[in-house]
Structure formats: C-alpha cells, structure tokens
C-alpha cells in the first residue's frame, strides 16, 4: 500500500500567487483513513448475495482487519467448515453465532472452534461501486 505524492496546484512564477495554494497540501489518501493497522488489514472481494441486506453486494470490496475483536453485530469473515465466508456475528448471553444478513436466509451457525467454526477477521469498511 502506497501513499500518494503531495502535489501543489500552483506553479511558482511571476504574478500574484493563488491564495488557495497555502491550503492545498496533498491528495486525500484513503489508506490512511480506512486502514488503521496496515500489516493486519487485507482487501477482499465478495462473491455472492447472502449479505445484501446489510449492504454488501456481489463484487464489493471489503476492508478486513484481522487484529480486531468483533462486537455484537459486527460483520466478520469466518471459517465455517474450512471455507471462508462473510457473516454477521450475533452475541447472546452464553453463546455466539453467525448469521447472513439477508432475510431470505434464516441461518444460525454456532461458533465452535472444535468444529472449525471461528472468526477469521473483522470487516471495517465496504467499498461499493455505484457508477
């Protein structure tokens, strides 16, 4: 991941310099804002529609931070029977389960390390193209 090179709008030269020059320093670098922990953050592409109701569409990009601990209703990447999938984590009193975000899917998968069902990473942002 690379930072962009700062650039200046105004050329040095004769005449009155643009008063805006002082305020324009560099491009906005989304990496800085969307990626808090660089070595632990992966960009992953989504395939499938099970999470449409929480705003994750087929082909979207996910920013996934592996270092975070998920909260209740966090969107997560989970290992379910040795396949990585996108799910919502729901925490209840003494158990945690995974569910997909769509109303059409009413699945509940209990988190159970022994049966190879565990959290892989926490989704922090969804990048969706609307153009």
């Amino acid at each position: 991941m690379k930072l962009t090179i700062p650039y200046y709008l105004h050329k040095a030269g004769a005449g009155f310099p643009s008063p805006a020059t002082d305020y324009i320093e560099e491009d906005i670098d989304l990496n800085v804002h969307l990626i808090k922990n660089v070595p632990a953050t992966f960009i992953i592409r989504v395939q499938g529609k099970s999470m449409v109701d929480v705003g994750i569409n087929d082909g979207d990009l996910l920013v996934v931070d592996k270092s975070l601990t998920p909260k209740n209703f966090s969107t997560v990447i989970a290992n379910v029977h040795d396949e990585l999938v996108v799910k919502t984590l729901v925490k209840e009193k003494d158990k945690q389960f995974l569910t997909s975000g769509s109303k059409e899917f009413s699945d509940r998968i209990l988190i159970n390390e022994e049966q190879d069902i565990f959290i892989w990473g926490v989704v922090t942002y969804v990048i969706h193209s609307v153009h």
Binding site: N37, P39, A40, I44, L61, E83
Partner: protein, 425 residues
C-alpha cells in the same frame, strides 16, 4: 561488589512452513491436509506442511521423484507464488516491529529480535505474546527461540518447533549441555556441509561436543568463524544484530525457462526482460551499475544434445541504471555468446559494481541524463500502480512463451488489486 547484570536476550522468530502457511491463509480447505510448495518452474519441493513431512517427503526433493507419494496421499501441490509470500513476509516483519525492539530481518521467513530490555523471567511470556500477535494479525504461525546468543536462539527455535506453545527460552538455564547434546552438528547455525564433514571426522557429532572443544583447537584446525560459533554456543555473544541491511554489490535475475528454447529472438526477449527487472530493482534501491554480465546455458542433464554454457561481461562507459542502456548492452553481448542449434534451459543477467546513484554525477552528465532518469521514474511509478510490465520495452517481448512454468499457482496476491482473494457471501 554490586553491579547491574545485563544479559543479552535474542529471539529468533521463524515462520512455520512459511510458503505452505501463506497458501493456507485464504484456502482453509487445505488447513489440515499435507501440502507442498514447488520452486521456480515447479522443479523441487521447497516448503512442506507437517503432514507432508510425516509422509517422508524431503526438503529440496525434485517434484517428479515425490510424485508417487503425492498422488497416493492426495498431497496438495502449489507453484511458488512469491508476490503473495513477499507481501505476507512484510506484514509479519512489520508486526514484529511493533514490539519496540531492534530487529534484523534475516530471510523471507526469519527475523532476530533483541529482547534484552525485558527481564529474565518475563521474556518467555513476551515471546508468547509476539507469537500470538503475529498469528492473529497475519494468520502466519511462528516458532520463537530465545537465548543469550544468535546461535543459541537457533537451538532454542529448533526445540520450540516441536512444542505446542511454539516458544522456548533458554534464558536462566545454567547447564545447556543436555539440550546441546541432542542438536546434530549440521543443525548448528553457521555449520555448513563442508564443516559438518570435517567435524564428524574429528569426532564432533553434536553441539555440545563443539561447545566443549578448546578455542585453540578450533582456530588451529579451521577458522575464526568456527570459533565464533563455539563461543556463541557457550553463551558469549559474538554475532550482533544487523539492523541496517548492507547495500548490495550486485543484482542477479536469472530463471530457468518453462520449456527449452532455441530461437535467438526468444532468448533475446528473456534477457531483455531480466534486464528490466534487474534495473528496476537497482533503481528502487537508488543504485547504479558499472557493468552487466549475461549468461546462457543448456541443461546439464540432457547431455545427448551437447552441453553449452557461456557468459560475457560488458562495462558501461558511465555507471547507469537506465533500462534502455542496460538492455542494449546486454543484447549486444548475448549476440556474441549465442550459438545456434542448442536447446537453452537457463539465462540470466547480473548487474555488478553497484554504487550509490547520488555520487554518480560526472563530467559527462548532461540534461539528457536527467530526462532519462525522469522517464525511468515514470515507468517505475506506472508499473507500481498498474502492475509489472504495464510499461516495458518492445525487446522484452509481449507473448513471453519462454516464461516460467507455474502450473499450480494459487493466483492470489494480497498486494495486487487485480488478484485479491475472493470470499463467498
């Protein structure tokens, strides 16, 4: 008499079956299966999972030799995907740097860390925290060995590899002899194949025996480096952490071809393309080269076609990192060493006499040089953004029929926008 006792504590962090662990990260289906990763051109086995080791597959074994075991046991095979491994390696190293200790990146999957500022009894716990953090953040399992010297931390790592916790500290253990006795002499860090033979001839079969040999004997019968190893085994630090990577003196790019090639044009494309890679590499390190060496050879195992191998060096009038000039010179010497009728298996280029680009101004420097530098910079930037070889020289070819064999590539690259891992929702 009272004084502050300062014990050095060095950790060796080593990623377990690194290439295999990388392949497993986005492919949990192979999490518990035997897995091997092959070298360039799918030649030899260069990384094995624990399960693959248990099947008796040897490190460095040619792929075709292991094929029977592989098929019979459904071993998962991968071509090496170095851009993925490189990205994950950088992530592991960056994670280690968060622990505010000096670190020496020793290889793609190993690093030494100086943990001297932790107390003797907490250092093993620190090791466990490091291991857990790297595993959680990057998904890569590691083994960590901690001891007073680099050589002993390698020994500790050897033991850690076999433990569930993955961390072993030898700090505070008075008598290391029972441990060193179990370490074969050829597993001691810094003891190569030649030295192993020599030691065995002299009745030294394990680390303890080397440790207890007198310095005078070792110095007399071999060299200073060997006595350094023995001292380190005694717990006397002799080899420091190398914190800044020393600048390289040369840069080699060479590959075996996916198939044997006979046409000059194909060889030309390969050599031009290696030159581009090498010159991009030295530009990224801000170096210039004094000369370029080109070599070609046929396969040494297909003697029926006759063996041919040759190389030639050409000096640049002025040290340079300009791709165009490097390619031009390399191709001119390739013409000299090319012999028709051979089936070439390998070619390569080596840029030598590397020095800092800054000190390269001279009498003959001109505005034209600056323009070329700018051109090179924009080529590098474009290729960084849009992927390798977006901008290239026509001489490097477009089809690249000579390029490497990678039949089992996982095609995932966490650092390439167009090869990101895909996950089902």
């Amino acid at each position: 008499m009272s004084y502050i006792q300062y014990t050095k504590k060095l950790a060796l962090v080593d990623c377990n079956s690194f290439y295999v662990s990388c392949e497993r990260l986005f492919n949990p289906k192979i999490r518990k299966k035997p897995v091997v990763v092959l070298s360039n051109n799918d030649g030899c086995i260069v990384s094995r999972s624990t399960e693959a080791k248990a099947l008796g597959i040897k490190m460095g074994e040619p792929y075709f030799k292991a094929k029977d075991i592989i098929i019979k046991n459904d071993v998962q095979v991968f071509s090496s995907n170095y851009s993925l491994y490189g990205d994950l390696s950088r992530r592991v190293m960056r994670t280690l740097k968060r622990f505010n200790s000096d670190i020496e990146v020793y290889s793609i999957d190993e690093a030494f860390m100086d943990l001297s500022n932790f107390s003797d009894n907490e250092v093993e716990q620190v090791g466990r925290e490091i291991r857990e953090t790297v595993l959680k953040w990057t998904g890569i399992p590691t083994s960590i060995g901690i001891a007073k010297t680099k050589t002993l931390s390698k020994v500790a790592n050897h033991i850690a590899k076999k433990k569930q916790s993955g961390v072993t500290s030898l700090i505070g253990i008075e008598n290391l002899d029972p441990i060193l006795e179990k370490i074969d002499i050829n597993d001691v860090w810094g003891v190569g194949r030649q030295m192993t033979k020599f030691y065995q001839k002299n009745g030294i079969y394990n680390a303890k025996q080397l440790k207890n040999k007198s310095n005078t004997w070792i110095k007399k019968s071999s060299n200073v480096l060997s006595s350094r190893t023995a001292m380190e085994l005694r717990g006397v630090p002799c080899i420091d952490l190398e914190k800044t990577a020393s600048k390289r003196k040369s840069c080699v790019v060479s590959r075996s071809f996916g198939k044997r090639i006979e046409k000059f044009q194909e060889l030309e494309e390969a050599v031009a393309s290696y030159c581009l890679n090498a010159s991009e590499k030295i530009r990224s390190e801000n170096l210039v080269a004094k000369a370029v060496m080109v070599f070609v050879r046929t396969s040494p195992f297909q003697k029926q076609f006759g063996f041919y191998s040759n190389s030639r060096t050409v000096d640049f009038p002025i040290a340079t990192n300009n791709s165009i000039e490097i390619v031009k010179n390399a191709l001119s010497v390739l013409k000299v060493i090319f012999r028709k009728g051979h089936r070439y298996q390998k070619a390569g280029v080596m840029l030598t006499g590397l020095t800092d680009a800054e000190n390269n101004e001279n009498l003959f420097s001109s505005a034209k040089d600056e323009r070329i530098n700018r051109l090179m910079r924009s080529i590098d930037n474009t290729n960084y953004r849009y992927g390798r070889s977006t901008l290239s020289l026509a001489s490097a070819g477009v089809r690249k029929s000579w390029s490497m064999k990678r039949d089992y590539n996982s095609k995932i690259d966490t650092a390439d926008f167009y090869c990101l891992p895909t996950i089902r929702a």
